[in-house]
């Protein structure tokens, strides 16, 4: 490892512009003639649209036009789609209701878009939006998934009777039943995984620009995957063919999954730009973000685990209701199925698993993948189950886990996944040691003397990243492949541009990807630029989500680097009349091993472009492209230990210690990895203690639509984390990387809840464990 290469704690190259306010986000983009858009949105959770009168709005000062769904339909713009087909257990395809980018005759959640107002200024657009008169006939709304399936519930989509989108299962029901038949102990529990609002720092935004002379569209958008956006907008929404549509995702201020999806606003801005003849910019305000960004989680699960007399797990039965909201967002069907049920074996050797998942429409914001996406739901369920079981059996939580750990690899679980590497006991040992688990009883007694209830909890999570190979995900219903592309361009003076299909929206790719190239080609970090986020520059890519940019995106770069290096060696060998096998690349030079012959890197590059003296038949230039399709998922895993103190008078929980011991495979930049863990764990603590989207059941209004009511974690809510890694390289990719972006959010919620329930002595506690809930749980427990 050099000071800039793989393994070095290089400060992030991109941070200079971010921390000096010089980042360029969609809202910073200005196109000549650009106007501003505001969307008219439904104030009702469920209503028929009887009439939309735009005449008064159109006459307002500065208004260029007001456009509605009927016009959009007339122009042939398509409905939004879900890109992952799930079949119910009876073989029928999922029942997808129509989602028009602008609602035509019915609205199904508060915030559903109805019309777009384009005006000279945003203020004028807002004023005019208030003047659009929509006549509604209100309908009964339902926000709870179980109630939505019940008799007499309001029906959202004619395509989906009883609001049931699919009734899917995974695993073997008969074998699982048989396992329960042999069980010495069965533990059952109900678990709720609370609905979350993603809350990226930068709200969603779109700038659509139709160039009439070229008959060409450009869309600047807050996307984690601009190429997928272009593909979907071309192939399904009929906005424009791909060669007539450029999508640019410039600096993007956080996504956490919520910016994977194609939303109505970018489609409508592009269409409105053609319709009005002016570039149209829309930037969400914070309330719109709360109401319309795809939410995360919202699972209600009943589960049972069967153990033998020695507390070895025999079987696991899971029934989950997943609330998908009012419409199926782009990958909403994959989250509660293949990203969830496939991880239900956790770190444990479980012979039989059966999971049933029902996906349900409700009058709430669409729900899709959010940091972790399915895996946090699985980890929370399993790790609560293990903790509660251990407490019930009277054995230590660590011992119950150890007794059931998978210890040899590869390991085929009963739910598709084939774990290829890991050392679960190593992470558990490291975490317990770092947390001084053995000294906990003393700390608990000391806290008791201060009137505080101290508890400790752990979580041994496993997750799956780098969803792949493409053929496998295709067979499971994915509408896209999940490979990644890379292009390495060596310029004539030896500087390098790497074009990647991964997208950086906080992850630090401009640094880590450059570190990889610097190490490999022995060139300085600042002679390497990472180019991403523009469909006119990068040919194709699948973007960033599922912690895939390292394992998949960087692996594609490695493949392109292989080709670049091979050609560079050939050129150098030719220039020095040496054997290509003797060429070594170090210190910015290509050398002939064992001699003093050398060619500086830039001179080799120049030779490639002057082409005065190249090997016979070699094409000039030095630029290589690669597509990388992984052969397996990667499996980051680890153990988190959380220690809390509860104030019994108020129910307030302080996290006094949090230890994370992760296995991420090989690491490019430990500082960036630690940052990812800090962020992930903080989001997980947010879910466990603070955050929860809440709809009023009768009106369907989002009660938590601002920071006055939705609690985001603050610095003071979390302790200084104690992190470590003990890594087993991933066998499936050339860098041995597993991924680290989501682990913190996946592993931490059960550790926190296990700690609080340990402190208060009752398991009856749901997330977020607010002071009120902890106080009430404590009170109820003392009463009994």
């Amino acid at each position: 490892m050099g000071i800039e290469g793989v393994g070095a704690r290089v400060a992030r190259k991109e941070d200079k512009r971010f921390i000096t306010g010089a980042g360029r986000y969609v809202d910073d983009m200005v196109v000549p003639g650009m106007k501003h858009a505001v969307f008219v949105r439904s104030p009702h959770a469920h209503a028929e649209i009887r009439k939309i009168d735009v005449a008064a709005a159109r006459a307002m000062p500065g208004v260029i036009d007001v456009l509605v769904g009927r016009q959009l339909k007339a122009d042939g713009i398509g409905n939004l789609i879900c890109g992952w087909m799930i079949h119910s257990k009876d073989g029928s395809p999922m029942k997808m209701g129509a989602w028009s980018p602008l609602a035509v005759d019915r609205v199904r959640y508060v915030g559903d878009a109805i019309a777009i107002v384009v005006a000279e200024t945003k203020g004028q657009a807002r004023d005019a939006a208030e003047a659009v008169e929509v006549t509604y006939k209100e309908l009964k709304a339902v926000t709870d998934a179980s109630k939505a399936m019940g008799r007499g519930a309001p029906q959202l989509h004619p395509e989906a009777p009883n609001n049931l989108i699919f009734d899917w299962d995974l695993g073997n029901a008969a074998e699982t039943d048989a396992a329960f038949g042999k069980a010495a102990h069965v533990v059952e529990m109900d678990v709720i995984n609370n609905r979350l609002v993603p809350n990226a720092m930068e709200p969603r935004a779109a700038l659509g620009h139709y160039d009439k002379a070229e008959d060409h569209y450009t869309c600047w958008t807050t996307s984690q995957n601009p190429h997928v956006a272009r593909l979907v907008m071309s192939a399904f929404y009929n906005v424009a063919p791909e060669n007539k549509l450029r999508v640019i995702a410039p600096d993007v201020g956080g996504g956490f999954g919520s910016k994977i999806y194609i939303y109505p606003e970018e489609i409508v801005c592009l269409w409105a730009s053609k319709k009005t003849g002016v570039p149209v910019k829309w930037v969400a305000d914070r309330t719109e973000s709360f109401m319309t960004d795809a939410h995360g989680r919202d699972h209600h699960t009943h589960a049972a685990m069967a153990f033998d007399k020695d507390y070895r797990i025999l079987g696991f039965k899971v029934e989950t209701k997943a609330n998908l909201g009012a419409y199926m967002s782009l990958f909403s069907s994959a989250t509660p199925t293949y990203l969830y049920a496939t991880l239900l074996s956790g770190q444990y050797d479980i012979p039989a698993i059966h999971a049933n998942v029902k996906a349900i429409y409700t009058n709430t914001a669409p729900v899709d993948a959010y940091r972790g996406a399915g895996r946090p739901e699985a980890a929370f369920l399993i790790e609560r189950m293990m903790e509660v079981s251990a407490r019930r059996f009277g054995i230590s939580p660590a011992e119950l886990r150890r007794r059931n750990f998978i210890t040899s690899f590869p390991h085929q679980t009963p739910v598709i996944m084939n774990y290829d590497a890991g050392d679960f006991a190593a992470s558990l040992d490291a975490a317990m040691k770092a947390a001084d688990y053995a000294g906990f009883a003393r700390r608990r007694d000391e806290a008791k003397r201060r009137g505080r209830l101290r508890g400790i909890g752990m979580s041994c999570y496993i997750e799956a990243c780098g969803i792949a190979p493409s053929a496998a995900v295709g067979s499971l219903g994915a509408g896209v492949g999940l490979w990644e592309s890379a292009e390495v361009r060596v310029n004539a003076v030896g500087t390098i541009e790497v074009l990647t299909g991964s997208h950086s929206h906080g992850q630090g790719h401009e640094t880590t990807f450059a570190q990889l190239v610097s190490q490999r080609l022995s060139v300085p970090l600042d002679s390497i630029s990472i180019v991403h986020g523009d469909t006119d520059k990068v040919q194709m890519g699948m973007g960033t989500y599922g912690s895939r940019s390292g394992a998949v995106g960087m692996s594609a770069i490695v493949k392109a680097l292989d080709k670049v290096e091979a050609k560079a060696r050939k050129i150098a060998a030719h220039l020095m009349e040496a054997d290509e096998a003797d060429i070594v690349i170090e210190n910015g030079e290509l050398k002939v091993a064992g001699t003093d012959k050398k060619v500086p890197w830039f001179q080799m590059a120049l030779a490639a472009y002057t082409a005065h003296n190249l090997p016979a038949g070699m094409e000039p230039g030095l630029k290589e492209t690669a597509f990388y399709d992984p052969s397996n998922f990667t499996f980051p895993a680890g153990c988190y230990v959380c220690e809390v103190e509860v104030d019994p008078d108020t129910g307030h929980t302080d996290i006094v210690q949090f230890v994370a011991a992760d296995d991420f495979g090989n690491i490019i930049n430990p500082m960036i990895v630690e940052g990812q863990v800090h962020g992930g764990v903080t989001q997980g603590i947010g879910q466990a203690l603070l955050e929860g989207a809440s709809y009023d059941e009768s009106s369907g209004q989002l009660v938590t639509a601002s920071y006055m009511d939705y609690t985001m974690p603050r610095a003071g809510d979390v302790p200084s984390y104690r992190l470590s890694t003990s890594n087993t390289p991933a066998p499936s990719n050339p860098l041995g990387i597993k991924g680290c972006g989501e682990a913190g959010a996946i592993g931490s919620p059960p550790a926190v809840i296990n700690a609080i329930t340990d402190a208060i002595g009752t398991e009856e506690l749901t997330m977020p464990a607010t002071p009120q809930k902890v106080w009430a749980a404590l009170k109820a427990a003392t009463r009994h």
Partner: protein, 266 residues
């Protein structure tokens, strides 16, 4: 935000004149409540009359036990004023816990009490200290000033110019914050002064700030947290929302009161 006409007042008299001429005018001081409400289009005054540049509204005067705080004094100034801290540290402590540093450097005591947010901190202090609210027209006892949720005794156009009180022998304030907004979900100010003990509660009551008379009686006998042990706080007349039920708030009133007394006795 809707468009609004801005006026900078140079004196209290000037401000009163400006508001009279305005269509639907509002005074703005720190603007910590009004401006966000306007941004969300929940408030739509035609005119704003800015009181921040009126010299006579500024400053803290302490003379013996007599304290006068100009209405335009920021929370940060109340929190940091050494003379005030010497005679009534509880009020400085309260001010130091309002919002965040940005809010404390913009928001003012006059703005806070004129707004009378049921979850604001100052109303509890004013009530417990038996303060007098001074306006450009008259003087109003705190008891009569806070009349309900966001309601005060102020008449149209009337401006709070100062608050006045006699520093108590002992006082303490403790609050439990709303986890999201960080406003007081329950805040209790306890003061032991010449006229006895007063206990005022903010953030909890469904009609705004109120006095806990049974606690006052118990503490008058013995000014000690243990004196409150037997007292049950009823959840009736408590606010209830997603963050705190009436029952939980009633509990918080009892807990914060005990802690406020303990702090006063430190």
């Amino acid at each position: 935000m809707y468009s609004v006409s801005y006026h900078r007042a140079s004196s209290v008299a000037d401000a009163a004149k400006l508001i009279k001429k305005a269509g639907d005018g509002k005074y703005v001081s720190g603007g910590m409540t009004l401006i966000p409400a306007m941004k969300l289009r929940l408030a739509a005054p035609t005119d704003l009359v800015d009181l921040r540049h009126v010299p006579e509204l500024k400053g803290i005067k302490v003379s013996g036990k007599a304290v006068t705080i100009g209405a335009g004094t920021t929370h940060a100034e109340v929190a940091a004023n050494e003379k005030l801290k010497a005679v009534c540290p509880a009020l400085s402590h309260l001010a130091s816990m309002i919002g965040d540093p940005h809010v404390r450097h913009m928001g003012t005591i006059g703005g806070s009490i004129a707004n009378n947010d049921p979850a604001a901190d100052y109303p509890a202090a004013m009530l417990a200290l038996g303060a007098t609210i001074v306006t450009n027209k008259r003087e109003i006892a705190a008891e009569k000033f806070f009349t309900g949720l966001f309601e005060t005794a102020l008449k149209d156009g009337e401006i709070v110019t100062a608050v006045r009180f006699t520093a108590p022998a002992r006082a303490g304030y403790e609050k439990f914050r709303n986890p999201a907004s960080r406003y007081a979900m329950t805040g209790v100010f306890v003061a032991k002064g010449r006229d006895g003990v007063r206990v005022a509660v903010t953030g909890a009551g469904d009609d705004g700030v109120f006095r806990a008379r049974d606690m006052e009686a118990a503490l008058a006998k013995r000014f000690d947290a243990a004196a409150l042990d037997g007292i049950k706080v009823s959840p009736a007349n408590m606010m209830s929302d997603i963050h705190a039920s009436a029952e939980y708030r009633a509990n918080l009133v009892a807990v914060m009161a005990r802690r406020a007394v303990a702090r006063a006795n430190q």
